[in-house]
Symmetry: C2
Subunit: 143 residues, 2 copies
């Protein structure tokens, strides 16, 4: 499985913003976030751009610009983040159309679509159970 790190990067950025906000610093630049994640600021801007389009963060331009949370950390679930940064389905179908003259080839895709839908639904339910505030709490507890 592809195992990309987009969800991890986005959650890390949000958790860091939540901690900074608690310390009185509402506004962070992509450079400041990138310093904690240890990556290039453009990666952070791309990720936070996805989150902005989903309404999870706000951005300010001009001098004194930066990013801030659009909601309280308790109100942002990992499902919100997942929807913001991932679009591909979990499991791919056949790359080439199966043989439609075979009874299995003819019916397998809708059948699998149904099963895969149930799996994704279970995944989404689980992601919804955890908020950015939960992640931050567990993060600070781990010493």
């Amino acid at each position: 499985m592809a195992a990309n790190s987009r969800l991890t990067i986005a959650v890390h950025a949000l958790a860091w913003m939540a901690l900074a906000g608690r310390r009185g610093q509402e506004l962070l630049t992509s450079d400041q976030v990138a310093a904690s994640v240890n990556t290039n600021p453009v990666i952070i801007r791309r990720s936070l751009g996805d989150l902005r389009r989903a309404g999870l963060v706000d951005v300010r331009h001009g001098a004194g610009a930066g990013w801030s949370l659009a909601r309280a950390p308790e109100e942002i679930t990992l499902l919100d983040v997942y929807d913001a940064v991932e679009q591909e389905p979990l499991f791919g179908m056949h790359r080439t159309e199966p043989n439609l003259e075979c009874p299995v080839g003819r019916g397998i895709r809708p059948a699998l679509g149904h099963v895969y839908g149930g799996v994704e639904e279970a995944l989404r339910r689980e992601l919804q159970r955890t908020s950015i505030a939960d992640v931050l709490r567990q993060t600070l507890r781990a010493r």
Copy 2:
């Protein structure tokens, strides 16, 4: 997300083998399976090789060679198949180590590991609820 089709290919192959077995043909060659999936026989051999290592299918060499199910279709769950063909975790961690001088950078990985573990567990529970026989039943129902 990468959305590879390995689970789909493997389940398709197993469902087709289950149907052929029900029709009295226990043994299928990789060419015959490839004809239903509509792909190259080597792809099928690679996939069935994973399933063989997991003990889900048997193989016979020599003349009259081919593949057969090692268990009844009711006894093979999609979780068995998933474990046989996927090894990467669902969500990747940071590609480069986060900044350990930041409290979030220091604690985020174990915290996320815990959350991701719960999500994978939910996914596994759901995959376990469906067998190859279930998939075949739904496949033949869809006309």
